[in-house]
Subunit: 497 residues, 2 copies
């Protein structure tokens, strides 16, 4: 690698045109080293070339000798120059030949025409919240108060299961709202469902285990199971969720020892799992000595009747883990959820989390603990529930005009509705086509087919209603209906042509 | 499945011993449905049994008929009961036979004796910060102010790349401190190095690509690459970090198209990568048309000379991604870091993040933006740098007494030192033995061998010094020295026996 040193002609100070700016905040020695570095990288002085001595540099630039020495030492530490006793400074001979001057600045490419830049939510974005309804002032105060009271403890190694008062508040909340009798010691604060899935995967199943997921379902679960080295097996479900008999009838699910389900409200179909299926699922878990993970993402929002108690509240054998989230109440960008572990998995989860940082940020945990424990969380849920109920009604009303083309399935819970295509919609029209036509009109509608892992993929649309005022929902429904009608007309012509 | 309905003897109201508590906050109809549910689950009324009529229930309990109807409707919705026209309410025949009464509450097992409960950090925990040094009051105020000013925007769908003002502040900071000229459009706010690794893995490499990681190195990177479907290949490094010539000499690395390196300060060995290796690594990336990921985790802490500019600042071909973190300054429980993408990967990263929530919580991003942009971050780094320099000196001083047994490698950067075993330490003593003996004395010392992916695993200890006052470091060094000496004496006897 080493080449014989060459003497650079004219490489003494003057020809390198160094200068210093005494008004700059950058120390003089760093100004000098930066310029020399740039000269070397730009090939203005070749490997092996002699650089000005520190004495010459100092005289040339009118700086102290010690300043020039600092600059030279810095470059030597970085490997740009080598000192030879009595012979001065030389550009390192171990540098490859430079190719071109300073690298270009990093600029992002112009945004592609197909992807609009992130914008405020538009109807019917699923998962959208209405920022107007959030108690911003109270939350801001809780954030400040939480850090002021506990900042030192928060910076100290926190419990990898999360902030203890938040875990206690979650346990109490689950007891009151979901019928789950659990000790805070079984509660882990997570960064959301993907994080909860990864934790259960790591401590609940051997690598390669087959785990049943609902089809259609929440795709992020299967994705995270795959990342964790497990084998997700989609099993077809209806609005009542997973039927244990279906597992037995699915050849790919043979040997499965786990299942992820959303019994409170199947995603995206929106039904609640009846109690006979719940008990059958628990019996299945007992039989295969497996584990069921209950995913509750919006059980707070039920507009008629009381919410069903959690599947976990029926679990007598420690075979159900319960994953919940604050994202439907506080926004998904908060990135906080929880996982209630069966007692038998607590030690394994601690061992797993001991060596790695928990994925959940600590910053908002004291504020959230206070928000839940004080009852403000429950009050916020009750208040928004009334408002969302009116919004749901407004959407159902507006949807009535398009019956036979777009049929909204009745629901009394959740934050979105499912639209099925009626007899007036030609069979050849794909739900992605309808979604694309809606987007042209500025309306977001998620195709139902995209929630399916395998065919047959049922056609339909998911319409989120929680984040938008009633007039906006009615206007968007009109826009969606017109776009669908136009498409149906052309689709009909296409078929008859 | 369905069995013929049986008439339950004595299943009318009175024998079920229902009651209501008018003083309770729980609505009456929920009290009734909860008791009936419990009776069904406990087997007190069998599948198919007739339940009291709503009229009988209302009379028995002295509640309005509508209350009893609400309770019955709730149980019907849950699948516990079935109504038959004119025949009253029956326990669903689709329920399996109940097995036992209410599930036991979830209690965690008692903590195992081998794992101490989470406690405040003790010397020499690597990654520990000193909570006393943190500007808690200012940070608490920034949290409140950030949410107050931007709460609505934060709940709205935020840019999956992160809060724009924070990305701008990071870009400016990197320009000033690390010589990286980048547009905020290339900056992604991440939840830390694992998150950054997952993002680069998803948008920078096809599945199955071989990617070089440093050995010894930061194990979480290899783990996350595996989770992402890539093939991490450990390549042996020294304190100067990865040598591109070593990649060519490692058969398992044939075909590798990526490399994760920590040029500012190799982890855990603690050296800086000299510029010739940096340029050679860039040349390698060009040759294989690959991508280098620069992991900077504590470049802020350099106690002599200026920090070397980032490897990314030498990148002329858009072949380096730069991952940084706030965890060494603000604590790792904050879970915020950043990734500067080469422009060519920006669109792929946007496409990847569009469909999933970003892993980084939004809550602290406005506060952090303000903290960085205001110069408070830089002031905090400068202040703690002076303090950490004194702590490092105190540790090196205290370590002098154990030379020949425990040799601390000199360093002028970072937050931990590396201890090598000297000639007085018998060859048969494992570094994990020394770490275990130290833990007995209440001292945390991380074995160096644990950072190696493959043998030979060099013996040594990592001692974090940043989080602890000088006296605590000196005392812990004495305790560690004595523990090591005792072990060496017994180890010597073991050999001579």
């Amino acid at each position: 690698m080493a080449r014989p040193p060459r003497r650079a002609r004219g490489a003494e100070g003057a020809s390198l045109a160094l200068s210093v700016d005494r008004g700059s905040a950058t120390p003089l020695h760093m100004q000098i080293s930066a310029q020399l570095r740039a000269f070397v990288l730009a090939g203005r002085v070749a490997p092996g070339a002699r650089l000005p001595s520190t004495r010459a540099l100092a005289a040339e630039l009118g700086v102290a000798r010690s300043t020039a020495v600092l600059a030279a030492e810095q470059l030597a530490a970085e490997g740009y120059v080598e000192g030879r006793a009595g012979a001065g400074l030389f550009v390192s001979t171990r540098l490859p030949e430079p190719s071109c001057p300073a690298p270009p600045p990093r600029r992002p490419p112009p945004p592609p025409a197909t992807s609009p830049p992130p914008a405020p939510w538009r109807p019917f974005a699923v998962g959208a919240l209405d920022p107007e309804l959030f108690p911003h002032e109270a939350w801001a105060r809780l954030l400040q108060r939480g850090w002021r009271a506990h900042g030192g403890a928060l910076l100290h190694r926190p419990d990898p299961f999360g902030w203890a008062p938040l875990r206690a508040a979650i346990a109490r909340h689950l007891g009151e709202w979901r019928g789950i009798d659990c000790d805070p010691g079984c509660v882990v604060v997570t960064a959301g469902m993907a994080d909860a899935t990864a934790l259960v995967a790591a401590c609940g199943f051997p690598r390669g285990t087959r785990v049943v997921v609902e089809d259609p379902g929440y795709g992020a679960i299967a994705e995270e199971l795959l990342r964790s080295g497990l084998r997700p097996v989609p099993v077809r479900v209806d609005a009542g969720g997973l039927d244990a008999a279906r597992i037995a009838a699915t050849p790919a699910a043979r040997g499965a020892r786990g299942a992820f389900v959303a019994p409170a409200r199947q995603h995206p179909l929106g039904g609640a799992m009846p109690v006979d299926r719940r008990l059958a699922l628990l019996a299945w878990a007992r039989r295969v000595e497996g584990l069921v993970v209950e995913d509750e993402y919006d059980s707070e929002y039920r507009y008629a009747g009381a919410p069903l108690p959690a599947l976990t509240s029926l679990d007598r054998d420690g075979r159900v883990a319960h994953a919940g989230s604050f994202s439907k109440v506080l926004g998904r960008s908060l990135r906080l959820g929880y996982l209630v572990l069966p007692p038998a998995l607590v030690d394994a989860a601690r061992a797993h989390l001991r060596e790695r940082p928990a994925a959940a940020s600590i910053v908002a945990q004291p504020a959230l603990a206070e928000f839940v424990a004080s009852g403000d969380f429950a009050a916020h849920v009750r208040r928004t529930r009334r408002i969302y109920a009116r919004r749901l009604e407004a959407l159902l009303d507006a949807g009535g005009a398009w019956r036979g083309l777009l049929d909204i399935e009745p629901t009394d819970s959740g934050l979105h509705v499912v639209v099925r295509f009626g007899p007036r919609m030609p069979a050849g029209i794909d739900d992605r086509e309808v979604a694309a036509a809606a987007l042209q009109a500025g309306i977001v509608a998620q195709p139902l087919s995209a929630s399916h892992a395998r065919p047959p993929r049922r056609r339909g649309l998911l319409l989120g209603f929680a984040g938008f005022p009633e007039e906006a929902l009615a206007a968007a429904m009109r826009g969606l209906g017109r776009a669908a009608e136009e498409l149906a007309r052309r689709g009909g012509r296409r078929r008859s042509a």
